[in-house]
Amino acid sequence: MQSTAHDFKENIGAALADPNLQDSLAKLKTGFSERRRQAAERLPEFEALRDRARDIKNHALANLDFYLEEFERKVTSLGGHVHWAPTADDARRIIAELCRSVGARTIAKSKSMIAEEIGLNEHLESLGIAPIETDLGEYIIQLRHEPPSHIIAPAVHLTKDQVADTFLEHHGKLGFTRRLTERNDLVAEARQVLRQKFLDADVGLTGANFLVAETGSSMLVTNEGNADLSNTLPPMHIVLASIEKVIPTLEDAAVLLRVLARSATGQESSAYTTLNTGPRRPGDLDGPDQYHVVLLDNGRSSVLGTELQDMLRCIRCGACMNHCPVYGAIGGHAYGWVYPGPIGAVLTPHLIGVAEAGDLPNASTFCGRCESVCPVRIPLPRLMRHWREREFEQHLTPKAVRQGLALWAFLARRPRLYRAVTGLANRTLALFGRIDGRYRSLPLAGGWTRYRDFPAPQPGGTFHARWRRRR
């Protein structure tokens, strides 16, 4: 997908001025975080499970080559195929070839952020293959030609009324001509429309929450069951997953599932948890004839052994964005690419370049709420700071910031000069601000005073000046 991350500042303005988005975000901010809090409180060992989840992912990443090869061996022995895709381009090519090999015209897709990352839908469409999104949220935004705004709730930026209008516009030609107003009716209508598409699909494509090395299974959780139809009805099932999804055992998966659902939606478990282990065996009642797993690297292996490795622990629960006050103010589209929120602010600069996505790791107060809820304890603020350091080294930091910083650093490293300058600033600001106690505007502080008053200093000199007088 085309990035607009470099337009972040313009995107912010549009997001803050969008009343529908602001309505939706208001609900998201209280809903998700409250449900996660309650779910965590109901499970006494939740914090200990987070430690275990972190350790499991760390162990898998430290031995990634071993577990990936074990996974491949298992899948192959079950009659499936593993395809290694070093780049996004490779993954698109492999999937297109698989689709062509069965003469596929439509494919049923269950939600996959990796498919967004590699721009799969656009590519398939350009080849005359129609991808049908089957997750309700993904389906809605596909109709609207929009990218997802959240990694687990892709249409969270939309209100119910917007969805109703979209359905009326697109389902009318299928005979659904009544504008619906109830949530359940909207879901029922989408279900009717989608059911035939599942039956018609030649290929089912899903993502994976985990790849289990010991059994060769890909594991998927959903709340709609759409993945189960995508991977059982069509004759070919393609799993598209990035390499860091591999974990050693089913036992490990059990731990990760316990923190995943609670962190994501506050559920104890998602409604559907499915293990796909190879193609249909003789005697099986259903299942695909062909089972393929496309393993995408796309730059991930290059961060192994570096400070950024921690970001590969992510299990895509979305808790960081649900708790991020910046995401809560501007929503996901403003981030300009596939992954929004705090995890997007550390992943995106790696995947599309820090020059393109430099604003993302800067647009954080480092409030730390993301790290405090991350089920695998990714130090997100530290990783955002990592990118700020790379930007500073590469002279990508805006000139005004650099100059201001240089002036401040010059003074801060000379305490006597600093005292003289701050003493003067204190007296000047205190003098002119003494009537009101604050400023409504102030030179060089427009970013502050456009929205807030600026408190004047207390009169009587700086603390250090007064302290010297007192002693």
């Binding site: 107060t365 709420r369 009537i435 502050w448 207390q458």
Partner: protein, 260 residues
């Protein structure tokens, strides 16, 4: 610090650059609270800033140089006390990482880190203070500043002491733990987002109907005060140390001296 070791009595105050420049009364309130609790307080002259503006802008070299200044100025004390969770967190959680490639400096940074405390946490957790002698008539609400809360575990300590202030009632806002949108240079780099965040914070504060907002970090307080005042909301804003030290009669943040 274990129970058996003697209480740290020789305390250095890290004033913070904002308190130094904008609101010295917070520094004096901290000194009073520490002296009343039996400490001997020193204010090392070499201090300027903790280095966060550089550190959070990716300028590690400058952050390190400033950290070295702080190390030089603050050695030889039993404890370093900071009336700010943000600057306190910088000293206690981030300095050691700046010296990963310099073992001698790292050892000094580790020692400094282990001796650095946010003010209310030092009073309650280290000195064991359970009450203060102060009066502040009215209802207050308390904003948990992010670094203090999430890096240093400051949550109950200020509330515990506030409960003992004569005439004061504490009324919690709905989301005391959500960031106010200050974030150091963030508030001027991304003013629109910052404004949206502080707008929510001030709406939450206003909905409590209190007369006063308290917090432990001057950056947040200036941001919140400025937004409340721009919106014409009549809630006074003070640092928690000022109320605990019975210095709640001074003009509040952003208010003129003569109109108390």
């Amino acid at each position: 610090m274990s129970k058996s070791s003697p209480l740290p009595r020789r305390v250095a105050l890290f004033v913070t650059c904002l308190v130094d420049l904008f609101r010295p009364s917070i520094g004096f309130a901290a000194v009073k609270l520490l002296e009343d609790a039996g400490c001997k307080v020193d204010v090392p002259a070499g201090q300027v800033c903790c280095g966060q503006p550089a550190y959070n802008s990716g300028d590690r070299a400058t952050a390190r140089a400033i950290a070295c200044q702080v190390l030089d100025a603050f050695e030889d004390y039993d404890a370093i006390v900071v009336p700010s969770g943000s600057c306190g967190g910088m000293l206690s959680h981030h300095y050691p990482g700046l010296f990963d490639d310099a073992p001698a400096l790292k050892a000094r940074a580790d020692r400094l880190a282990s001796q650095t405390f946010e003010l209310t946490s030092f009073l309650v957790d280290v000195l064991g203070l359970s009450r203060v002698t102060a009066r502040y008539p009215g209802a207050v609400t308390y904003h948990d500043s992010c670094s203090g809360l999430r890096e240093l575990g400051v949550k109950d300590q200020p509330r515990q002491l506030l409960q003992t202030v004569d005439g004061l009632t504490l009324r919690e806002m709905k989301t005391p733990e959500v960031c106010c949108g200050f974030g150091g240079t963030f508030c001027v780099k991304y003013p629109k987002i910052s404004n949206a965040m502080v707008g929510e914070k001030t709406a939450d504060i206003a909905a409590t109907g209190v007369d006063t907002l308290l917090a432990g970090d001057l950056g947040c307080l200036m941001n919140i005060a400025g937004k409340l005042q721009r919106g014409g909301v009549r809630v006074r804003v003070r640092h928690v140390a000022e109320v605990l030290a019975d210095m709640g009669d001074d003009a509040a943040i952003g208010e003129p001296e003569d109109r108390r």
